[in-house]
Symmetry: C2
Subunit: 207 residues, 2 copies
């Protein structure tokens, strides 16, 4: 079997160095290049073939989301694995919409990175199942309320500073309806006012 050629993109030297070290321990992987930003990544891709690009989601100037879109356009055969911290996982759906085939949290072990690479190389979708979550992070996952799509929509608009009448006007619904959603949000988050609601929503990375 040919080795899987991989490019890693991250603006943190420490992460690049760590990935270099980890990938060097995987026998079926050949490191095609390390890139500190999207420009370098595209340059490496043009100069030498790669099978998989592992890229951070949040980067200065051109984000991982934009990079994924570019790669999908110019190198449709190249597979993409997105990487982020647990706190930043809410962007993963955008990465997938822009062509990513896998997702890894930065706390992933070498074994999980291996598994992700193999799965994605075989054409499967790989989603990180991180077992090293801190108890605080675990608690967060348990406590995040399930919101309907309308509730999410109203939550975002409240967080943007819009009043009930403004939201009603924007969504072409009654003021009473907005108020109902707002009350449901307060109940679901178990809070008594908007301040607490927004604080919790921010804590859960919903806004």
């Amino acid at each position: 079997m040919d080795k899987i050629r991989i490019i890693v993109v991250d603006d943190h030297p420490m992460v690049l160095e760590g990935m270099r070290g980890m990938l060097s321990q995987i026998g079926f992987v050949e490191l095609a290049g390390l890139a500190a930003n999207a420009y370098e990544a595209m340059t490496i891709l043009k100069a030498s073939a790669a099978d998989i690009v592992i890229t951070d989601i949040n980067m200065p100037e051109i984000s991982g989301i934009e990079l994924a879109a570019k790669i999908r356009t110019e190198f449709p055969k190249v597979k993409i694995i997105a990487m982020s911290t647990f706190k930043e996982r809410s962007y993963i759906s955008q990465m997938i919409q822009n062509g990513a085939s896998g997702y890894l949290v930065k706390s992933a072990s070498r074994e999980e990175i291996e598994e992700a690479i193999l799965s994605v190389h075989e054409g499967k979708l790989y989603m990180s199942l991180d077992v090293s979550l801190s108890s605080a992070d675990k608690q967060e996952m348990v406590n995040v309320p399930m919101l309907s799509s309308r509730e999410k929509e109203v939550l975002l608009l409240i967080a943007d500073g819009m009043t009930n009448p403004q939201i009603a006007s924007k969504l072409f619904i009654s003021l009473h309806t907005v108020d109902s959603h707002r009350k449901n949000l307060l109940t679901k988050f178990s809070v008594n006012n908007t301040a607490s609601l927004i604080k919790q929503a921010a804590k859960f990375n919903l806004i």
Copy 2:
């Protein structure tokens, strides 16, 4: 000159591997050990001498803050460098209170890590000056309003869901005074209501 013996503590394998790679490139550094948590770190410290411990601030079970306090108590000669992401920098003052002599952001280059190690080893305080901030992070630093201590206090209480009368009662001041602080907060954050205020405060990691 003797080599500086260093232990690195972080629950992310990728970061540990990255630090191993970077430290191996620094001639005056000897890696005394890698630890995935505070327990391992203390075990390594007891088994072999180290000059500096570089530890992540946020870790499961026993945080970097607690670890720093333990190290200061049991190994007062060992210097501590705290590490965090840019978003988590608000905890650095606690690390320093618990004995840390230096602070590095995780986006630091190998050169800056070198400099931090040398400074701290010479007994100086080292604070990371990260030049690779994303433009979004830079904008955040520029836009964070200067709050008085009372304003900060009131902000936290508002974010906790307390009403003006409740805050007034808690702080032994007039309802009008609380309202004044609240209005000043709205002005300083350039927002029109509490929802926006809390969202911004969360964005700036003030709550």
